[in-house]
Amino acid sequence: MTQAADVKNKITQHNEVGEKLAGKYLTFVLGEEEYGIEILKVQEIIQMQKVTKVPKAPEFVRGVINLRGKVIPVVELRNKFGMTRQEDTEKTCIIVVMIQVGETSITMGIIIDEVKEVLDIAAGNIEETPSFGASIETEFIMGIGKIGDNVKMLLDIDKVLSSAELSSISKIG
């Protein structure tokens, strides 16, 4: 393969990722970083409220809340991503997402530090997730969006919340 073809190949590949991921994202802050979730997965954003602890739940599950008559679990995204937990501020809020696990869709809340904005990210601004070696897990990140100087990690929220750890919640014993 010639070098030119190689480059061309790379470009088309990269475009594929971009094409697939281009669209509207809700961006939010967690620690120092900014993340994005596909807007279609987001059901609503609600204020922080009292969360009822669930016995023997894993560390990253803060508990359950009442969402207009439905009880839904709430996940502490900081814990999930291995960051230290911090006190809730007035900017802390819950994003209610609808995720798909197999054939069932599950409504869940995720606690994040601050909601930013809804961004339309074009295909050209999305890059494939770079590999950081084995030490850093990148399977939750679908791609990386570049907006100006900022970098936003586009989360595969289905994967984040349906990972093996979470399914272990139902087997607490």
Partner: protein
């Protein structure tokens, strides 16, 4: 044939060829025509006016199928309309094409075979049906069917057919006792007729054939050509089961599974079509049949006398049957006489209903629950801010009242009567008594009692097991009953009634009752009970719920493996109910299931444990005490026990049970409260909590799909402040506490 009209031509020909075959009793042909008409109506190659005409005609035939238009009137209109269509079609086509010759016999065959595969298929089946009727041998070969209609239609068909079958089954059982109840016969007939019609429309040929044969047999009974005896009912019931299985498998088509034909399908169809083969007599008292016939002038006195003397001589047939079979009189008259012999059964009134998806109903209930909470929050805020405006206060109270009314109403939406479940048991008892050769009457009381849909759905299994047990172990054989000087026919009573906010379902039999000694011996053998220990009767009886517990010497195909009662216990536990057993040796057994009216609401005690509030179901609380220091004793420094009036209970801290041993603030026992709780089978434990907040009815919610089942937690409840509290699962807590 390649021009744009060829398809329409084929359809039209198919319709014309079917038209003379249409008859009232066989809707499948009409359904066929309807389908082709619809296709014509959608054929865009045709002129608009023609399409419209086809659509109108389709509507007409649809109305005929739905019996909205009288058949005679409809068929005339239909043939006129179709002929007109054919004429205008030919005119317009001939204008446009003079080269193509359309009416050609060989091509017509092609018409029938190639493009309209489904149609042809159906036509073949129709032929088969008519053969089946004439020669009584429908031989259906199971084939994989493809369904390319509207899945929503199919789903509706499945739901409706089930409803029809459920409705028809009890009537069929009634029919066994009163074979001349024309109303019942007609209703059952109509049920199968409808199933057949729609099945034909959807191209479900197997369903159509089977329901058609069933309909035929019923029709013979309806016309008075045969008198349906218990063998006919048997085969009809078998047919019904088979049909149910088929419909189950039709449902599978929706998820792309192949249509499975039940194994006994062919056999049943055959049996159904040879009704005369089991014109075997059944005994019932029929004293006055002759008199009635004479009164009506349908038979002469000497004919009756003949028949009666034949019976005395040992002819096992009924008088009516003798009369009919010896061709003395018309069976219709006999049937009529039998009908007047039986008191007219009260007609079942049909309430108008509307079908609503359960999910939508639950959403409504959720929203109303939230509205109630929102309203009470307003009220609480008013109290907090010390607003003393009287008119405001009045208005808020008024709205609160209305809210609660709506909430109650919304809860009642999920209530259904236990009737359908009870009626299934009637069938079961009938089958079991045939199998075991015992004569059993099932008496049902209070079958209109209403329960939450989910509760009703879940009591079916336990009832089946308990009835199996009653029939197999409880009720003695005929000889045993005779030596015990009991009535020859055993009685099982199925009863439902309200008691103190819950519903009690009872199964009572007049069989031999439970033997305390045998049970205790077996329990000790199996290590469930300890020798030398004193047990109350209740405790001994409850051993029958232990898994694998069976005193039966022989395992039959009805029961005896010791699984059944374990299933009962699990189910009742899941429903948060309780079981009581009363039994008198030699006289009978009564098992009472106490069930909550609904799974959605429980009466709970709200308690504080550290910073959280939990709810403990009031039903399982025996007492709450403030322990004194000397009541609590530590065992090997590992666990604690509490002594209440001479009884020792394991003592657990709810906080450490739920949060591991991380509970930093270890309260002294005498600073809190101990609740003695009991699970369904009577195991007790003491739960240590901080204090009691109060008693409250709460709506149970599951913790969301994402979190699944949490051990020791039965669910969550939304409290009046809008927060979620967890409901304690006492059964599991006791298990966790006592190991």
């Amino acid at each position: 044939m390649s021009n744009k009209y060829s398809q329409a031509e084929k359809l039209l020909n198919a319709i014309l060829s079917k038209l003379p075959l249409v008859e009232e009793a066989d809707l499948s042909i009409l359904a066929d025509i309807l389908k082709n008409l619809k296709l014509l109506g959608e054929n865009t190659a045709l002129p608009g006016a023609f399409q419209k005409q086809a659509k109108r005609t389709a509507k007409l035939s649809e109305n005929m199928i739905m019996e909205e238009v009288a058949f005679e009137k409809g068929i005339n209109k239909l043939s006129q309309s179709i002929e007109k269509m054919a004429e205008s079609f030919r005119n317009s086509v001939n204008k446009e094409l003079d080269t193509e010759k359309i009416e050609d016999a060989s091509q017509e065959e092609e018409v029938e075979n190639i493009p309209l595969e489904e149609e042809t298929n159906e036509k073949l089946i129709d032929d088969e049906v008519s053969i089946g009727r004439e020669e009584d041998t429908p031989n259906k070969v199971a084939t994989e069917q493809t369904f390319n209609g509207d899945p929503a239609l199919l789903a509706d068909f499945v739901a409706e057919s089930r409803e029809h079958l459920d409705g028809a089954e009890p009537l069929l059982l009634d029919l066994e006792e009163d074979s001349t109840n024309v109303d019942n016969l007609n209703t059952i007939f109509r049920a199968f007729h409808t199933i057949k019609g729609v099945a034909g429309f959807l191209g479900l040929t197997d369903v159509g054939t089977l329901s058609h044969s069933m309909e035929n047999l019923l029709d013979l009974g309806r016309k008075g050509e045969i008198i349906l005896n218990s063998h006919h009912i048997d085969i009809l019931l078998q047919g019904m089961d088979c049909l149910r299985e088929l419909i189950q498998s039709v449902e599978g088509i929706l998820s792309d599974k192949p249509l499975m034909i039940p194994k006994n399908y062919g056999e049943i169809c055959k049996k159904l079509s040879t009704p005369y083969a089991f014109d075997e007599p059944v005994e019932t008292s029929n004293k006055k049949i002759g008199e009635i016939l004479i009164e009506r002038g349908a038979a002469k006195e000497n004919e009756i006398e003949d028949a009666v003397s034949k019976q005395i001589e040992g002819d096992p047939r009924k008088v009516g049957e003798i009369l009919v079979e010896d061709n003395n009189i018309n069976p219709r008259d006999v049937a009529g006489a039998l009908a007047s012999q039986n008191a007219a059964k009260n007609k079942k009134s049909v309430e108008e209903t509307i079908r609503v998806p359960v999910e939508r109903l639950d959403q409504l209930i959720d929203s109303i629950g939230e509205a109630v909470i929102a309203q009470s929050m307003v009220y609480a805020e008013m109290a907090e801010k010390k607003l003393t405006d009287r008119t405001l206060d009045k208005k808020v109270s008024q709205s609160g009242l209305i809210m609660r009314q709506i909430q109650e109403l919304s809860m009642s939406l999920r209530m259904v009567s236990v009737k359908s479940t009870f009626q299934k048991m009637a069938r079961l008892v009938r089958d079991l008594s045939k199998k075991t050769g015992k004569h059993i009457d099932l008496v049902m009381e209070g079958e209109d009692t209403e329960l939450d849909k989910s509760v009703v759905e879940n009591i079916g299994d336990p009832l089946v097991h308990m009835i199996r047990n009653s029939v197999d172990h409880g009720i003695e054989s005929d000889e045993e009953r005779e030596t015990a000087k009991k009535s020859a026919r055993a009685k099982i009573t199925l009863r439902a009634y309200h008691r103190a906010g819950s519903v009690v379902i009872e199964i009572e039999d007049d069989g031999k009752g439970l033997n305390r000694e045998t049970l205790l011996k077996k329990a000790i053998e199996r290590g469930v009970a300890e020798e030398g220990e004193q047990y109350t009767d209740q405790e001994v009886y409850r051993f029958i719920f232990a898994p694998g517990f069976s005193t039966a010497k022989v395992v039959t195909d009805v029961s005896g493996r010791g699984v059944g009662m374990d299933v009962v216990r699990r189910n009742i536990e899941a429903l948060r109910g309780s079981v009581e057993i009363h039994s008198e040796f030699g006289k009978g057994t009564r098992i009472s299931l106490k069930l909550p009216l609904t799974l959605a609401i429980i009466d709970g005690m709200v308690v504080n444990v550290q910073s959280e509030k939990y709810i403990i179901p009031t039903l399982s609380i025996i007492e709450s005490i403030k322990p004194s220091k000397d009541q609590v004793e530590s065992v090997l420094q590992k666990g604690d026990t509490i002594k209440v009036r001479g009884n020792l209970y394991t003592l657990v801290r709810l906080s450490s049970l739920f949060n591991g041993n991380g509970g930093s603030e270890h309260k002294k026992y005498h600073d809190g409260i101990v609740m003695i709780v009991e699970d369904m089978i009577g195991k007790k434990a003491g739960l240590f909590i901080d204090d009691i907040v109060g008693q409250q009815q709460v709506v149970i919610k599951n913790l969301g799909n994402g979190i699944g089942n949490v051990q020791g937690v039965a669910g969550g409840a939304i409290m009046s402040d809008g927060n979620v509290s967890l409901i304690v699962d006492v059964g599991e807590i006791v298990k966790m506490a006592t190991g």
